[in-house]
Symmetry: C2
Subunit: 199 residues, 2 copies
């Protein structure tokens, strides 16, 4: 039993360290030795827990950190009464990630996705699944706020895309202002389309 | 004179190769030896032309390929009569880059930006400048189509963000459909806001 608990603890620690490094440095810059050293995991434990090596480690840690970010986003969106409150909250979430990390951390998925999705089916499909879950969650909220049902998924994909791009712009500017501005624009455009289709 | 021409040719060849590799593989995965080998440049020429090493090479090649992409975008936007034509053309441009490269190439700037902007001031400021030029160009066109002057830059930043995010989503889906869908949504939202502010 103690053995099982130790194994589970090691696995969890390795994944947590890997998620942080992949988000911050990207896929190629993150070496397995660094993950081992920073997680304090015993040598040899890596291939025991992750026989698929770095690719498996990246895919699993993206799923975990992408799901966690999705849960934070869902909490903000489900508590919001309208698009303005929701996008303002989402912008603040990502702005805090950026500002709190010296503009290293933004989206936990995007850096590895752009680098490795074309070469690794395992990584690509995890990224697709994470973004798919985010878009579906937002789509449900859009319908609650009054967006026409057939428009909910396309508008949600516009919003997820715009937030991702705004994280990128904020990173290259070292300034989160653009995230708030893009969030306001999104809320404003979506509110206008809700009003336009009211009888 | 022959010497100068040879030097200029080598420099250009190295930059072209570097731009392709940085876009495709990212910053960390692209080694100077690979750039030298694939550009056929003589050993030693790299530090002669780029005394700042890999960082300088990345900054210069991002500026060149980002400027080139900006010119392609400007040609599409300036020929477009309305937002629908413009965003449809921009989506097709990026979709062709993705599909024509096995979904390796998308935006020439984004991968290196996400990886390296937080650690390299030289790279960060080049990326900022490229995206700034794109947003300003689109902003001018938005005013021509009838967007209220004070809204042009924020709407343009929304659009650049959304296109960047849609490239990311298209990459992880191995399917450019989302680029076209996000472009249609952008055009539709912007057209609606132009109509709303008409007297």
């Amino acid at each position: 039993m103690a053995n099982v608990a130790r194994h589970t603890g090691t696995r969890r620690r390795v994944l947590k360290t890997a998620a942080r490094l992949f988000q911050r440095q990207g896929y190629a810059a993150t070496g397995l030795n660094q993950v081992l050293a920073e997680s304090g995991a015993p040598k040899g434990s890596l291939y025991f827990h992750f026989p698929g090596g770095k690719e498996q480690l990246a895919a699993e840690s993206i799923t975990i950190s992408g799901t966690r970010a999705g849960e934070q986003m869902a909490a903000i969106v489900s508590a919001a009464e309208d698009p303005a409150a929701a996008f303002s909250g989402l912008a603040s979430l990502f702005a805090a990630n950026l500002s709190g990390s010296g503009f290293h951390d933004g989206c936990p998925v995007a850096t590895v996705a752009l680098e490795a999705a074309a070469d690794s089916e395992a990584i690509r499909s995890c990224c697709e699944s994470v973004y798919g879950t985010w878009a579906e969650g937002l789509s449900v909220a859009l319908e609650r706020w009054g967006v026409a049902p057939q428009d909910c998924l396309p508008v949600s994909e516009l919003a997820i895309s715009a937030l991702q791009g705004a994280i990128l712009l904020a990173k290259v500017r070292r300034d989160p202002t653009v995230l708030h501005s893009v969030a306001r624009q999104l809320a404003c455009q979506i509110s206008r389309s809700i009003q336009a289709q009211r009888p």
